[in-house]
Amino acid sequence: MNPTLFPWMIAVPLGVSPLVYLVGRLGVGLNFRFRFAQALALLALLATWAVFALSLGQFTAQKAILPFGLEMIWLTADGLSFLLAAMVLGLGTFAVLFSGPYIAGEIGEEKYYAMLLAIMGIMIGLGCANDLFNLWVWFEAMAVSSYLLVAFYRERSASLEAGMKYLVQSAIGSVLVLLGISLVLGQFGTLDMDKIRALAATSAAGGLGLALAGALFIIGFGVKVAFVPLHTWLPDAHSQAPSGISAMLSGVVIEAGLVAMLRALSTLGGFSISWGVLLLVFGALNMFFGNFMALRQTQIKRMLAYSSLSHIGYILIGLGITLFNGEPAGAQGAAFHLFNHMLMKGLAFFAVGALMFALLDKNGIHRPLEIGDLAGAARKYPLAALTLSIALLALGGLPPLAGFMSKWQIFVAGFQGSNAWLMGLAIFAAFNSVLSLAYYAPLVNMLYRRKVSVVVEQGASIPVSMSIPLVALAAAIVAIGLWPALMNGLTEPAALAFLGMFGK
């Protein structure tokens, strides 16, 4: 029997993170030109990738959940954990690579890579947590590190305001989650998720307490996932953070919150249909409101932030369909869309960040990038404009790209079993997808078909290390769009893990 490898996916980034800080500190003190902190962070991520590949191999060979326990820490790796780990590593590696020139010379540059590495380890850990309280601790640790990364530009008051807003709303959410956990603990006397699941499935009594705990979980974690009435921190945080962090927040952090919510809800048992209905309602609300608000934005990063809301909506619809009819198709579509959204939104934020860096930051202008600033940018920045257009069109769900494939899976799942409500929702989702093109298409038009603006004419060039993530992510979006079966190895186990969690 081979030793269990997957805890090293968590231990390596978390363990190297303080070292990265020390090395960065020394580098700043001695004024090195070479970014040692970034190089060390990348090395650690390469090691984590190796562990990921090995433990994924172990997982597929054993076809069973891998357990691990150390004192009070209980971890299990199932399909959902591996999906989240793949997303975190996939985007995180590029975020570290991308951030090199972007944050060079900022105050606290050495802390940035350390925090980024730490939050990645924490999110992989969150995906593996198998104890309700452990789950909360991972969740809170993720929240604290993301507050610091959002408020990274501490000399800009807008960035501080966004960080503060995020902190206060998230902190209230985590108090509600704690109250939910104490309700569960008071009822069952244990925090082990498997035991709670077994107890909740057998005991008919205490339905009210469990329903209340579920509501608290939905509201509490819902702040982090940006369920619509609880989303107000999101556009501010995403637009004010450094672009690498915006990509991480939108592509992975809110999804990690969603995984935490699903894990917590799944233990409560007996209500899976009603949770499904709730997810569908929030999904519809998020889709429509996100698209509607995105239409009105003039700042690009704010527009992308609102579009994250609508994409969370599609994912919720997929999950809700599975909870409603018990078929794995919806959850598999949702898992696929989770992964694709990471690629697409990550690429969009990286491309916008690269343009923002070249057009504004490099010239000492610190203001948000407006849509009008990008007029004719394709002539001077063909690569950034092409990759941004690929990301936007994929987000809008144009056929040969990745975003279409996963949305299509969700729509098809809605039509299985011919329930009129689900079919209606799938049509509503498709309608929303068309609506979203109303704000993606004008931006592409702006890039290619307008006269070159003054800002673009004065812009600096984009460094190579920023272009590598753009090309790689764009290639992944096209490849997955052409061969969607590539992702089945990750999405199928994730959908099965999801069904297993909810006891189907």
Partner: protein, 103 residues
């Protein structure tokens, strides 16, 4: 409902939550918001200890409560550090006067 110790703890949890949420509604000063958040977390900590006791597993509830204390202190430190920076940049702690991000 007689006044046993458990009931008294339950009552104080509800009271702290009520004070906390009321405080959130009326407070506009950032430092006071941090204090109010602390009040809410203290309610959750008492709820955890109470839940551990009523379910016959007091050690679990108490160890969870101690962990929450640590995590919560970290959040408070970060929040206060942000508040200090806000005061330095904007010259005020009133959230109504520093708010620029809308829509």
């Amino acid at each position: 409902m007689t006044l046993t110790i458990l009931n008294a703890v339950l009552f104080s949890v509800v009271l702290l939550l009520a004070v906390g949420f009321y405080g959130l509604l009326i407070t506009r000063n950032l430092i006071k918001i941090v204090v109010v958040l602390q009040t809410l977390v203290k309610a959750a900590i008492m709820a955890l200890v109470l839940a551990g006791n009523t379910s016959g597993n007091p050690g679990l509830g108490q160890s969870a409560a101690a962990t929450v204390l640590v995590a919560d202190t970290v959040v408070a430190v970060v929040a206060l550090a942000l508040a200090v920076q806000v005061r330095r940049r904007a010259g005020t702690l009133d959230i109504a006067r520093i708010s620029t991000l809308r829509g």
